[in-house]
C-alpha cells in the first residue's frame, strides 16, 4: 500500500539533500584552498546523488498512485516554494567557511543517525538508499567534525567565527527532531544521540552548545525562509522558461 505519507517523507529527504547540495555547490571554484574546494564538492556530489535516488523513488510512487508522469526533474524543477519540504537549515546562505562546515556537521550528524534507522525500515527502496548513502554520510561526519574542531581550536579569529556560526545555525537544528505525521521513524528518539555527538565534538573544539534557544520550524510543512524563493527561481529558471524539453 502506497500512501501519501511515504511520498511526502521521500520528497522531504530529496528536497533537503538537493537544496543543501545547491548551496554547497556555490563553493565550487570559490573554496579557501584547492584541496578543500575539491573536498566539499565531493560532498555536494554525494548529496545530489542521494536526492536523485529519493526523487526517482518519489516519482515512481506518485505515478503509481496518481497516474502521472513525474520524473526526478519535474519534481525538482516544477514544484514551488510552498511545495518544497526541505529543512530550513539547508536553504540558509552559506556565510563563511565556518558557517558552511558547521551546517554540514549539524546536518550530517543528524543524517547519520536518521539513516542508521532508515536502513531497517520496511520500505525496501528507502532502506536500500539509506544503506548506500550511509557510507557517504559517515565520511561527511568525519570531514565536518574535523573542520569544526580545527576552526574551534584554531586561531582566535576562527574560534570567534565558529561561535558566530553556532549562534546563527543552532536555532535551525530543533527542526530535525520535530515530529510530524509523515516521519518514517520516531525522530525524537535520536535527539539525545545527536546532542551527545555534537557535545563530544564541541568539547574538543572548545565550543559550547547554546542554552535555551527558540527553534525555527516550518520546512517540512513548506513554510520557508525568504531565501528559498530565490534559490528555486535560479535553479529552475531554464526548465521554467522552456518547459517540457530535453536537455
Amino acid at each position: 500500500m502506497i500512501n501519501q505519507k511515504t511520498i511526502n517523507a521521500t520528497l522531504h529527504l530529496a528536497d533537503t539533500t538537493l537544496i543543501l547540495a545547491q548551496k554547497n555547490s556555490e563553493w565550487c571554484a570559490h573554496g579557501p584552498i584547492l584541496e578543500q574546494d575539491i573536498a566539499i564538492t565531493n560532498i555536494t556530489l554525494d548529496l545530489i546523488g542521494q536526492s536523485r535516488m529519493f526523487y526517482q523513488y518519489a516519482a515512481e510512487l506518485i505515478n503509481e498512485v496518481e497516474n502521472k508522469n513525474e520524473t526526478e526533474d519535474t519534481l525538482a524543477y516544477f514544484r514551488s516554494e510552498r511545495e518544497f519540504k526541505n529543512f530550513l537549515i539547508a536553504e540558509l546562505p552559506n556565510g563563511d567557511w565556518a558557517q558552511t562546515i558547521l551546517r554540514q556537521f549539524f546536518f550530517s550528524c543528524f543524517h547519520q543517525l536518521l539513516f542508521e534507522k532508515l536502513q531497517h525500515i520496511e520500505d525496501k527502496q528507502i532502506s536500500a538508499i539509506a544503506v548506500k548513502s550511509l557510507k557517504e554520510i559517515n565520511y561527511h561526519v568525519k570531514w565536518s567534525s574535523e573542520w569544526v574542531i580545527r576552526l574551534g581550536d584554531g586561531t582566535l579569529e576562527s574560534h570567534s567565527r565558529m561561535v558566530k556560526a553556532i549562534e546563527i545555525l543552532w536555532p535551525y537544528t530543533g527542526e530535525f527532531f520535530n515530529a510530524e505525521e509523515n516521519d518514517l521513524i520516531e525522530v525524537k528518539k535520536i535527539k539525545s544521540n545527536w546532542i551527545q555527538k555534537i557535545e563530544a565534538v564541541f568539547f574538543e573544539a572548545n565550543l559550547l552548545i547554546p542554552g535555551n534557544v527558540f527553534m525555527q520550524t516550518g520546512g517540512k510543512q513548506g513554510i520557508h525562509t525568504e531565501h528559498l524563493g530565490y534559490i528555486l527561481t535560479e535553479m529552475q529558471s531554464l526548465q521554467r522558461a522552456y518547459p517540457g524539453l530535453e536537455w
Partner: protein
Amino acid sequence: MNIKITKYYYGDIPEETTSSPSSKPNTVDLGWPLWEVFIRSKQGLDHKHAGSLHAADAAMAIENARDVYTRRQEGISIWVIESKHIHASNPDDATMFYEPSADKIYRHPTFYDLPDEIKHM
C-alpha cells in the same frame, strides 16, 4: 596596438616585465605544507606514488588525498608523507650508483642454461 610579438606557444603566453594590470601588492601567505601521496590501487599491490598536495596536517593530508586522488576509485589505501622528509639520491651519482650492476648478469635467471626438460624453475 603596439605589441612586440615574441615566440608564443599555445599554453605559454609571454609575460610582460612591465607593470601588472592589477595594483594589488603581490603578497604571499604562509601556505600549508606539501605532502607526497602513495596509493595502493588494489589489495596485493604496492603503494605507488600518485602525486602531491597541500594539507595542514597528516590526517587532513590523507583525506585530501582521498578527495583528490581517488575520485575514480583509484585506490583502497593511502600513505602520505610530508615532502620535506623525503631524501633522494643525487642524479650526479647515477653512474656509480646504478651502472655497476649492469654487468652482474648472473643475477638474472635467464643467465642460466638449463635443459629444456626442466620446464619450470
